[in-house]
């Protein structure tokens, strides 16, 4: 089972993801956190292979969270799912995220991207495809 942590300050988003990705419950074990600190707590409590986070959150935003994750748990693949699409936010995210997805993001793209990230032995940011990285 692949363990994935989803982080978003909007509960409706977490609930929606949970429902949408229920079909993956056979392959993925998903946890949900409402903010940066809660996410770090979950990461400390158990092992994850992937983290999917929103960018704009109060207190600790996505960029800061991923920065910490990169330092504390470099093996965890880091994916951004953000409502913001402005270049400044992208630039900040690209420093610590492997992939950047913008909301709204359909289930197939999300599932595929997560699958790619997890499958990749050395997942990198979206500019390089997972297939090429494996060689």
């Amino acid at each position: 089972m692949i363990r994935i942590l989803f982080v978003d300050d909007e509960p409706n988003v977490l609930r929606g993801l949970q429902r949408m990705l229920r079909s993956m419950r056979g392959e993925w074990e998903m946890q949900f956190a409402g903010g940066g600190q809660e996410a770090l707590d979950s990461l400390a409590a158990s092992t994850f292979e992937l983290i999917v986070t929103d960018m704009r959150m109060p207190e600790m935003d996505g960029a800061e969270l991923l920065d910490q994750v990169r330092r504390l748990y470099p093996e965890i693949a880091r994916l951004v799912l953000s409502g913001h699409s402005d270049p400044k936010m992208l630039a900040r995210a690209s420093a610590s995220a492997h992939r950047f997805l913008t909301k709204p993001c359909d289930a197939d793209t999300l599932i595929e991207t997560i699958a790619q990230c997890v499958a990749s032995s050395r997942p990198v940011a979206g500019r390089i495809s997972g297939e090429e990285e494996r060689s």
């Binding site: 909007e10 409706n12 929606g16 993801l17 936010m89 909301k103 359909d106």
Partner: protein, 841 residues
């Protein structure tokens, strides 16, 4: 003295009148008789010194009459009146007692001399003959006379001096007697020949008219009369010196006054003649210098602040070196004593440098350098200010400046002051005229009849109407009907007639019929008594500017919408995300439910046929178990509810965006203030929601507000975003949230909007500048400094409202916006005395 009366007796009226007139001119008192009858009776009154009589009168025996006179000791001399050309000495032979003969009708050229002599001879004769009483009278007269009287013999040796004379000379009469007159009296170095006294003795200088001479420092009229013995021989002279000093002084004063007037006229005419003011001043200095016999005449002028003084004009008498410090500016403080006197509007006369007071040491040194010995200085006033002074110097001589010098110098100073004042006014006028000519704004002046009187070159250039075609026309005829409609609509004329300034824009027509937008200020020129005389219009072609302004405004709106766009995108994208997720879930769930429904439907079909097969029951159970029926039944309604909520959020924000980004336009519209605030809050949600809670307390029943919706929304947004930033600076990333409170209420004719935050407040030192354009405390890139400037512009300039703030360091800030509810004028009308629209702070 009655004895100087002359009796004229002649039948011929013309003769009587001619003689009376001629003798009166010599100062004699005449009585003229036509008839000879009462001659003797009149003469017996002894009031007549002389009888002029026709010897041929039938009723008169002249010889007998003269004998009677002699017998009765009546001292009347007799002259015979004869026809012109008959003066052949016959009568003098016939009547030896005659004093002479006079020709008719007017006595001829020698009348005065003959009469004088006749009277004199009588006096001498009388002197010998007069009784003691008469002699006493003469002596008393001689002693008491206010005139100086001296009697001399034929050799000009002094016989008598009256006491007035001896007092003047300081010598007793006995000391003087016997001296020659020029030694005794004149003492002025006269020789015998040019001694003015004893003129009657000198045939060549004989002249009955008195002579005016200056003697002993005074002025005298000299009368000199010959003394004749009984047979008419000259034996001496009596000189009477009448003191006319005060008369002469008065005469001189009058003459001097005339001279002064001539000088003043001459000087001022040079200025009036249109001479350059500098030439006029040079001329004035030259005239006044020459007139007062000064060595130098200068004009000094202060600069505008009276800090420095410079010698701007100088005249020098022939042979005097011009001074070297011309046009050199000297600090006015250096000659404090002099300037203090002049600025007090006093004149200064210094007869002698040694008489300068101690505190005038710097002045003394300065004068000494210029070899000035004495001087006079006079303030020159321009308006009510002492602008400089005229100074007259005398080199090498001390001089007592007289009162009349003072008079003329003051007068000249006044003329020069007036000329300078006029000159300055002309310069000012020229400057303004040049400025108006060079101005890129068009200027049009109309008369009280509203017809154009003047247009400047910019007017010609912008409108295309040359001055000659514009002057005399009515502005509306030039500018076209679009404007005339506007003029009517805004009752512009009525407003200007009431003394208001009109400012606004209008569509005008050029000479080539092209339309353009003009930005105009029309102000009335209020004359004394409040009457409106002229109108002055200042205008610009703002067609291009209006286009740019519209573009700029649009760009600013786009920019602020752009700044919001990221936040709004986030606000929309988030619900879309979970609506999509839920829909996907519902789709998946439907498939699972459909399988369950299918299994249950089969079960139902089986049941209706009576027997339910065990495998159908098992299949239905399996389907339900596989789909986690419990989970679906719990989640699906929630997914639907949350999706609907998400859609509501999207709908709300899209509507708010639409409302917020109202296309605007130039016309004012009714605005629902509560809706405007709600939309603005909605579109800015992402700006504040991470740092603050927002509390709205909006009055529900506010009347609609007339305004520009797009601009007003932007102003509100700028205040809200500012509030969010202020709170953000305080709470940082602590996770704490501040509060933004927005309330509205009605106060009289105003809607009041208060927007308060719990930020740090505005530091005291920048409170006065927060509405300035480009003023920002934010780091580079975060703010352009336009936010509050736009608020000010929108609220105060566009909506005629007010914006103010209350702030407390550490205690947050509250912005208070007041907007007139309805009927705010589209264009500001400004009362004349006020300079501009009042600032709100």
């Amino acid at each position: 003295m009655s004895e100087n009366q002359i009796l004229i007796v002649d039948r011929d009226r013309a003769t009587r009148m001619a003689l009376s007139g001629a003798l009166a001119a010599f100062g004699y008192d005449c009585k003229a008789l036509e008839s000879e009858r009462s001659v003797l009776e009149l003469l017996r009154t002894r009031e007549y010194g002389l009888l002029l009589v026709d010897p041929m009168l039938p009723m008169l025996d002249l010889g007998a009459l003269m004998e009677t006179l002699a017998a009765e000791a009546i001292e009347t001399a007799t002259l015979a009146l004869v026809a012109a050309g008959e003066n052949d000495a016959t009568w003098e032979k016939v009547l030896p007692g005659l004093a002479g003969v006079v020709e008719k009708p007017d006595g001829g050229a020698y009348l005065g001399e003959i009469v004088h002599k006749a009277l004199d001879r009588r006096a001498v004769r009388g002197g010998q003959a007069c009784d003691a009483r008469t002699n006493d009278q003469y002596e008393a007269l001689f002693s008491a006379s206010p005139d100086l009287i001296v009697v001399m013999d034929k050799e000009r040796r002094v016989l008598r001096c009256n006491p007035r004379m001896t007092r003047l000379l300081g010598l007793k009469e006995e000391k003087l007697t016997g001296l020659e007159i020029h030694e005794a009296l004149c003492g002025d170095g006269h020789t015998r020949q040019d001694c003015p006294l004893g003129r009657a003795l000198d045939e060549t200088r004989k002249d009955p008219a008195p002579q005016r001479r200056s003697l002993w420092g005074k002025n005298y009229d000299l009368h000199s009369a010959p003394l004749l013995d009984g047979s008419g021989r000259l034996w001496g002279a009596i000189d009477i010196l009448h003191d006319v000093t005060s008369l002469v002084q008065a005469e001189q004063a009058v003459l001097r006054r005339l001279e002064v007037e001539r000088l003043a006229t001459n000087i001022s005419s040079k200025f009036v003649e249109g001479l350059d003011v500098n030439e006029g001043i040079d001329h004035a200095l030259a005239r006044i210098g020459a007139w007062s016999q000064a060595s130098r005449a200068h004009l000094f002028q202060f600069d505008d602040e009276a800090k420095n003084v410079a010698k701007t004009h100088e005249w020098c008498a022939t042979g005097i070196e011009p001074s070297k410090d011309r046009n050199q500016s000297v600090p006015a403080g250096r000659y404090l004593w002099l300037l203090a006197q002049l600025c007090d509007n006093k004149t200064i006369h210094i007869e002698d440098l040694s008489k300068l007071p101690d505190e005038a040491q710097p002045e003394r040194l300065s004068f000494e350098v210029q070899s000035t010995q004495s001087l006079a200085a006079f303030p020159v006033q321009v308006g009510d200010r002492v602008a400089g002074f005229i100074r007259l110097d005398n080199v090498h001589t001390t001089r007592d400046w007289k009162e009349e010098d003072s008079l003329i110098l003051r007068l000249v100073a006044e003329i020069v002051g007036n000329a300078l004042e006029r000159h300055r006014a002309e310069l000012q006028h020229k400057l303004l005229a040049t400025a108006i000519d060079q101005l890129s704004e068009m200027i049009m002046v109309t008369g009280p009849d509203h017809l154009i009187q003047y247009v400047n070159p910019a007017f010609e250039q912008i409108t295309g109407f040359p001055s000659r075609k514009s002057v005399g026309k009515h502005p509306i005829d030039l500018f076209g009907h679009a404007w005339s409609d506007q003029v009517k609509k805004e009752s512009l004329i009525a407003r200007i007639e009431s003394g208001d300034v009109w400012r606004g824009r209008g569509i005008l027509r050029r000479a080539d019929s092209q339309l353009y937008e003009g930005d105009m200020t029309i102000c009335p020129v209020v004359e004394k008594g409040g009457k409106i005389g002229h109108w002055v219009m200042i205008g610009r072609d703002v067609t291009e500017q209006a286009r740019l302004e519209a573009q700029l405004h649009q760009a600013q709106r786009m920019e602020s919408i752009g700044q919001l766009a990221a936040g709004i995108a986030h606000e929309i994208n988030t619900p879309i995300q979970y609506v999509g997720d839920n829909t996907r879930f519902l789709k998946d769930s439907f498939g699972e439910l459909a399988a369950i429904v299918e299994a249950f439907r089969r079960l139902l079909g089986d049941g209706e046929q009576g027997e339910i097969p065990a495998e159908s029951l098992a299949a239905a159970r399996a389907a339900a178990a596989k789909a986690d029926m419990e989970y679906l039944m719990a989640e699906i309604p929630q997914a639907i509810d949350q999706s609907l909520e998400g859609l509501r959020r999207v709908t709300r924000i899209v509507r708010a965006m639409k409302e917020f980004s109202h296309p605007g336009g130039k016309e004012m519209k009714n605005i629902n203030l509560a809706r405007a605030i709600e939309s603005t809050v909605e579109v800015s949600r992402n700006e504040w929601k991470y740092v603050a809670n927002l509390e709205l307390s909006l009055a529900g029943s506010l009347p609609p507000l007339l305004g520009f919706p797009g601009q007003l929304n932007q102003a509100l947004l700028n205040i809200i975003v500012n509030a969010a930033h202020a709170i953000g600076d305080v709470v940082g990333k602590s996770g704490d949230k501040g509060t933004i409170r927005i309330s509205t209420r009605q106060e009289g004719e105003e809607a009041v909007i208060e927007i308060s935050d719990t930020g740090a407040g505005i530091p005291e030192e920048i409170r006065g500048r927060i509405f300035d354009p480009f003023f920002t405390t934010k780091e580079v890139g975060k703010g352009t400094g336009q936010g509050l400037a736009i608020v000010y512009s929108v609220v105060v300039e566009k909506h005629r409202g007010k914006v103010s703030f209350e702030t407390e360091t550490g205690g947050g800030t509250k912005f208070i916006v007041r907007l007139p509810l309805a009927g705010a004028p589209a264009e500001p009308a400004v009362k004349l005395p006020e300079s501009a629209a009042g600032a709100a702070l």
